[in-house]
């Protein structure tokens, strides 16, 4: 048993009798592996090595990358992790998502519900993370999210490659009758000391008969040949030739088409309806009433998608009242009320905040209120899923971040066993936390009416925009004490927001044992690498029937803005340079990666150098999802219109597995974040989302896209995430840059409410 496992067991025993009793049994179960999903339908000529590798004489080497590919390059990087240890070139392999299985559960994602800063390596933090790891195995959720895929796969995928390599070597040693230690491997071959070679594909059948080694040595990162270097993206050729790789592209024999029209008031149902006008549309076959825990409304089945869309429009429905205030002003009172109540949980409490404010000179107290609206994901591919229900079994084809959840909710709806649902996961046309659950559920709800034929259910853009799992609106009150010329030492923050985890799991998996305190509410606010003498970060939880969910960087998408916008105000009040002030507060030993990020950022962005008239720079830093990211934004103002000129980004994820893909994720996160900051908001009137399409929920386009320069560091002791981490600092960096040049302090997104963009 390795060192990590021993420490883990000891720390469990320290957690109390009840926990220890449960875990003594639990630990044995934890060590037992789930069955290998590849063994079930393996073609005769292929052999499976671990759940991640298939090798066949004809079919070659296939790597299973069981995470959703939505543009973050995860299939490429997970395959590279296997290929590095297996000793095969990236051009010698095929990469597939594979069929879902419990073996592919995501350990790392659950670490994020642990209430400890990323840099806390204390006993309690380590033990809690380890317990989450064990818990994740029992929940066995195959999920992609929380920038956790590379963290989760970092060792797992390399171990799979190494184990397969060793067993292939053992097969070659038997065939050649030589000692296995004399053999080398390279480019998909085992090499004999005399120079003879055997292809893995020739050895696979023999190797499959041997025992897979249970422990393998992983290579030092200094010896990596593939990892740490840019790799061409898997499926790039398919992407530039228009190959059918997305869920919406699925074509099956005898397929018919559908769409949905769900209640625009979340949680409400149809009071009255007339489907005759819909059925009168040429090509419309059926209108089906859908009533689920997620939404109620109608499905339209037709000969083609266009007819289904026309049918959905023609359907006459009177919807019930929304179980939440009908408009933005009413919704705001929910937030004000939540802030007026005592906090539900507090993080990073230090010193005596109340006494510090009681003793403070009024002139030294800075107070501010920050706010963000609901946001839609607005993925380029609207929600879609195809389902076929035949002989009591359901098959789903869809791009999803949670195939296990899709199978569960669909099975529950149809009253069948989860085992009778097969989910084929396609490439995702963007997701950002959106794709899971309802597309598959609604397709499953329509499937019986399709009478055994597959039905492809595509949502219109309007339906997609108005039935999201929105990034929650959030409201924060912040106050701090600032002495002239000194870094602040006292901060007090209260945030009102609904729990996204309760939203997500409450809809789809209410039995999931979630902690009552959702760490995501304070993600990007608490646990930041700053030293405060007196601090308190308080979450004011609130419930609303408005569907909220995970949007790229989740809590970080608003807390990054709140925290770093406010820090800029504090630096201004203190009369300090905002980068110098931050570095001076990143003063604990374990904050070192943060200091190095900010120092590098100061250098590469030419911070402090004189700018042309009308130009200004702003900075933001957020540690989120295990990566330390600082960004500087430069804006230029011409005739009152603001243009974002350039963004500098310095990121430290500990280990960079692919510098090109990692940098792309930073750029992508920055444009995503800046898009939310400049002009995006989901607002309510009459209980309905007002926005419909890209004309009223737009994003940065080519003409507005700034130059972006990314620098990567590797000082952090543990590997961190990518997909989310570029988002949080971009929003305050823009606000702070606009302040630097206009003097206008922006405390509410979208900024186009207060300023105008070119």
């Amino acid at each position: 048993m390795g060192r990590v496992a021993k420490i883990a067991r000891r720390t469990f025993l320290g957690l109390g009798v009840a926990a220890a009793g449960g875990l003594a049994v639990g630990y044995y179960m934890y060590k037992r592996p789930y069955s290998n999903p590849l063994e079930e339908d393996l073609p005769a000529e292929e052999a499976a090595f671990t759940p991640y590798i298939r090798i066949g004489k004809e079919s070659g080497i296939t790597i299973i990358a069981p995470r959703a590919e939505m543009g973050q390059g995860i299939h490429t990087t997970l395959a590279a992790l296997v290929a590095e240890e297996l000793d095969v070139g990236m051009d010698q392999i095929k990469v597939e998502h594979g069929l879902p299985g419990k073996a592919y559960y995501n350990q790392a994602m659950f670490n994020q519900v642990a209430a400890f800063p990323w840099f806390d390596d204390g006993l309690k933090a380590t033990a809690t993370r380890e317990m989450m790891r064990v818990m994740s195995k029992f929940i066995a959720m195959q999920a992609t999210g929380g920038s956790s895929s590379t963290i989760d796969g970092y060792e797992k995928m390399r171990r799979a490659g190494a184990a397969a390599r060793e067993v292939l070597k053992a097969a070659a040693a038997k065939r050649w009758n030589v000692d296995v230690s004399k053999l080398e491997t390279e480019a998909g071959k085992v090499i004999h000391p005399d120079g003879r070679t055997l292809e893995y594909t020739e050895l696979a059948t023999d190797a499959a008969k041997l025992e897979i080694p249970s422990s393998v040595e992983l290579r030092s990162s200094l010896d990596w040949k593939i990892l740490g270097k840019p790799q061409r993206r898997v499926d790039i050729r398919k992407m530039v030739t228009g190959a059918p790789i997305f869920g919406i592209d699925v074509q099956l024999p005898d397929m018919i088409y559908g769409t949905v029209r769900m209640s625009p008031r979340m949680g409400a149902k149809a009071v009255k309806f007339d489907d005759a006008p819909a059925l009168a549309i040429k090509g419309v076959r059926k209108v089906v009433q859908i009533d689920t825990a997620v939404g109620s409304g109608f499905g339209i089945i037709a000969d083609n998608t266009w007819a289904a869309f026309q049918g959905a429009k023609a359907l006459e429905v009177e919807w019930g009242e929304a179980p939440y205030p009908a408009d933005d002003a009413g919704i705001e009172t929910l937030y004000r009320d939540a802030l007026a109540r005592a906090p539900d949980w507090i993080r990073d409490e230090a010193g005596d905040v109340d006494k510090a404010f009681a003793d403070a000179e009024p002139a030294t107290v800075v107070e501010a209120e920050y706010e963000v609206p609901f946001l839609a994901h607005a993925t380029m591919e609207p929600m879609s899923a195809t389902a076929q229900f035949r002989d009591g079994k359901l098959t789903i084809w869809t791009g999803t971040q949670m195939p296990g959840v899709d199978a569960q909710v669909a099975a529950k709806f149809l009253g069948i066993e989860t085992e009778d649902v097969t989910v084929h996961v396609t490439r995702l046309g963007g997701s950002f936390g959106r794709r899971a659950g309802d597309p598959a559920l609604y397709a499953a709800a329509l499937a019986p009416a399709a009478e055994g034929r597959p039905v492809k259910v595509t949502w219109s853009r309007e339906e997609d925009m108005q039935h999201g799992f929105y990034r929650p609106r959030a409201l924060a009150k912040l106050r701090a004490i600032v002495q002239p010329g000194k870094s602040p030492e006292t901060i007090d923050v209260s945030i009102a927001a609904p729990s996204v985890m309760a939203g997500l799991f409450g809809r789809f998996a209410p039995e999931t044992p979630l902690p009552a305190e959702d760490e995501q509410t304070l993600e990007g606010m608490a646990g930041q690498p700053n030293v405060w003498a007196n601090s308190r970060f308080a979450a004011h939880n609130m419930k609303t029937a408005i569907q909220v969910g995970l949007l790229r960087s989740v809590g970080g998408s608003y807390n990054g803005f709140f925290h770093e916008g406010f820090m800029d105000e504090l630096a201004e009040k203190a009369g300090l340079d905002p980068i110098d002030m931050r570095i001076s507060m990143m003063s604990a030993a374990e904050h070192r990666p943060a200091r190095l990020v900010m120092e590098k950022l100061r250098d590469v962005s030419n911070w402090g150098r004189a700018l042309p008239p009308g130009h200004g720079k702003g900075v933001g830093f957020t540690l989120s999802y295990g990566s330390w990211v600082g960004e500087v934004v430069e804006v230029a103002v011409t005739d009152g219109d603001i243009r974002i000129v350039k963004v500098w980004c310095v990121a430290d994820p500990g280990h960079v597995l692919d510098p090109a893909i990692y940098s792309d994720q930073m750029m992508s996160g920055i444009i995503f974040g800046l898009s939310t900051a400049m002009g995006q908001a989901i607002t309510f009137e009459d209980g309905r989302v007002q926005q419909e399409n890209f004309y009223d929920f737009d994003a940065i386009r080519m003409a507005q896209c700034p130059e972006i320069e990314v620098h990567l560091l590797e000082n952090s002791p543990r590997i961190g995430g990518a997909g989310e981490c570029g988002v949080p600092p971009s929003i305050p960096a823009l606000a702070n840059a606009i302040h630097a040049v206009t003097g206008k302090r922006l405390r509410k997104t979208p900024f186009n409410l207060a300023v105008s963009f070119a």
């Binding site: 530039v240 997305f246 007819a307 591919e381 219109s460 444009i671 080519m702």
Partner: protein, 156 residues
């Protein structure tokens, strides 16, 4: 019955003539490379060429298209992705999720047909497609690379 010429092949398609070209391409012609994004010509994911002009197919009823007009989709742009624009996309690893990229490539190709060496302003004005992954800077670089490669090839 509607007559259309798609990727050089004349087809008779049995469809309501008010159906947008996008859906006819995807469902009746089985060419799913052209993508549905917004349905109102806002995002550009559905961009195809009609007689060489970049056209948003989601808002173009097939009744408005003449049988003689040449419709080209991403599938018909080149055999095996050999078009200089696709080659530039491959060389610079442009796509992330890839969903908008067929539309981007079709828009870029149409731009280069009329403006072989586009300036940044030309690119800003003509490439108005949305990419939620934010690949714009690579798209811009790939358009310039394709332009450079094409002009080098012409100079021989």
């Amino acid at each position: 019955m509607v007559q259309l010429t798609i990727n050089g092949v004349a087809r008779d398609i049995d469809v309501d003539p008010e159906t947008p070209l996008l859906w006819v391409l995807r469902e009746q012609a089985g060419l799913t490379g052209t993508k549905f994004g917004c349905g109102i010509a806002q995002c550009g994911a559905c961009t195809v060429h009609i007689d060489g002009v970049a056209t948003r197919s989601c808002a173009m009823p097939v009744s408005a298209i003449d049988a003689a007009q040449e419709i080209v989709t991403i599938e018909g742009l080149s055999p095996e992705g050999s078009h200089p624009v696709q080659q530039a996309w491959l060389a610079l690893d442009v796509p992330q999720c890839g969903y908008c990229q067929a539309g981007m490539i079709m828009a870029a190709t149409a731009l280069l047909n009329t403006t072989p060496n586009p300036t940044d302003d030309d690119i800003n004005a003509e490439i108005t497609n949305i990419c939620r992954c934010g690949t714009y800077n690579r798209v811009r670089a790939a358009i310039k690379l394709a332009a450079a490669n094409s002009s080098a090839a012409q100079k021989g």
